[in-house]
Amino acid sequence: MYFTSFEQFINMNGHGFYVWLSYACFALLVVTNIWVAQQRHRRLRKQIKSRLGRSAKV
């Protein structure tokens, strides 16, 4: 392991802010992209299902 203490790992010799900001943006991109795709999938399924249910009653 490169770092000897947890504090050193967070601080990154003064570059902590830049490093963690970059990794936070990466995490945000991954999570948002997954969430948007799955949310749309759920919404589409619900929409199509309810339309099918209506047409079955008629």
Binding site: V19, L21, S22, T32, H41, L44
Partner: protein
């Protein structure tokens, strides 16, 4: 054009063109890509953040490379991917190809934005500035604008097949920008460092620095494969909602 009429592509190419076939195919492949992405990205992140040595000049800010380079590579690859999918749609009149191209747009745009943001954040401690109007940075910003243009065009045209054709043409023309980004560090004097990976020579870094980067790049490719399949399958559900197979799938 008789040579063209007699020229047959492999069977899977025609199967891919069927929305139902693609929907099932995606569902079968997705777990593999999700698993690979999860393993490779977490492996790359832990290695890059905890075990890779710091750069002798840049110190620990060098670790930004493990998100910046994959983001930049994906941003450019996905634009070419979008152009190729669009071209397939234009040539063989395949609806699914346009759906794939449309699904890749936002993914590519978000990775390009990430490359610009992480680049700016990395630039501050390394160059002393968040932004310079240099060839690499400017051409990448143009790439983001091209993505925005493709998305706007897609939104503006309600007819899916017309929108698919129009955006395909824009993506194909816009691809000229990709070699410009790639060679910008060789053609112009720039602040940006030269490419980390080239196909023809050994990496300029030691293995304990570039292997985690390689893991991150491949992991991000797998993540994009999973995401684009999911988005394409959503697109198929949306556009094929009148088909009987969609009704059959959703009944149970």
């Amino acid at each position: 054009m008789s040579w063209f009429d007699n020229w047959h592509l492999p069977k899977w190419f025609y199967q891919m063109a069927s929305p139902k076939w693609f929907y099932d195919f995606g569902a079968r492949l997705q777990p593999w890509f999700a698993g690979l992405a999860l393993i490779l990205i977490s492996w790359g992140l832990v290695w890059g953040l905890l075990y890779a040595p710091a750069d002798y000049q840049q110190g620990n800010s060098f670790r930004i490379i493990y998100v910046h380079v994959p983001a930049a590579i994906l941003g450019q690859s996905l634009f070419l991917f979008m152009a190729v999918a669009g071209a397939i749609g234009l040539i063989w009149k395949i609806k699914v190809a346009f759906m794939v191209a449309r699904s890749a747009t936002l993914v590519g745009a978000s990775f390009t934005a990430l490359a610009l943001i992480t680049g700016a954040v990395w630039g501050k401690p390394t160059w002393g500035t968040y932004w310079v109007w240099d060839a690499r940075l400017t051409s990448t910003l143009i790439l983001l604008f091209l993505y925005t243009g493709v998305m706007a065009l897609n939104q503006a045209i309600p007819d899916r097949s017309v929108a698919g054709r129009a955006t395909a043409i824009l993506a194909i023309i816009g691809s000229i920008n990709i070699p410009i980004i790639k060679y910008s560090v060789d053609w112009w004097n720039t602040l940006h460092q030269p490419s980390t990976f080239t196909l023809t020579s050994k990496p300029s870094m030691p293995p304990e620095m570039y292997i985690p980067l390689l893991l991150m790049v491949i992991g991000c490719y797998c993540f994009c494969a999973w995401l684009i399949m999911q988005r394409t399958r959503n697109e198929i559900l949306d556009q094929e909602r009148q088909s009987s197979w969609v009704a059959r799938y959703l009944e149970d």
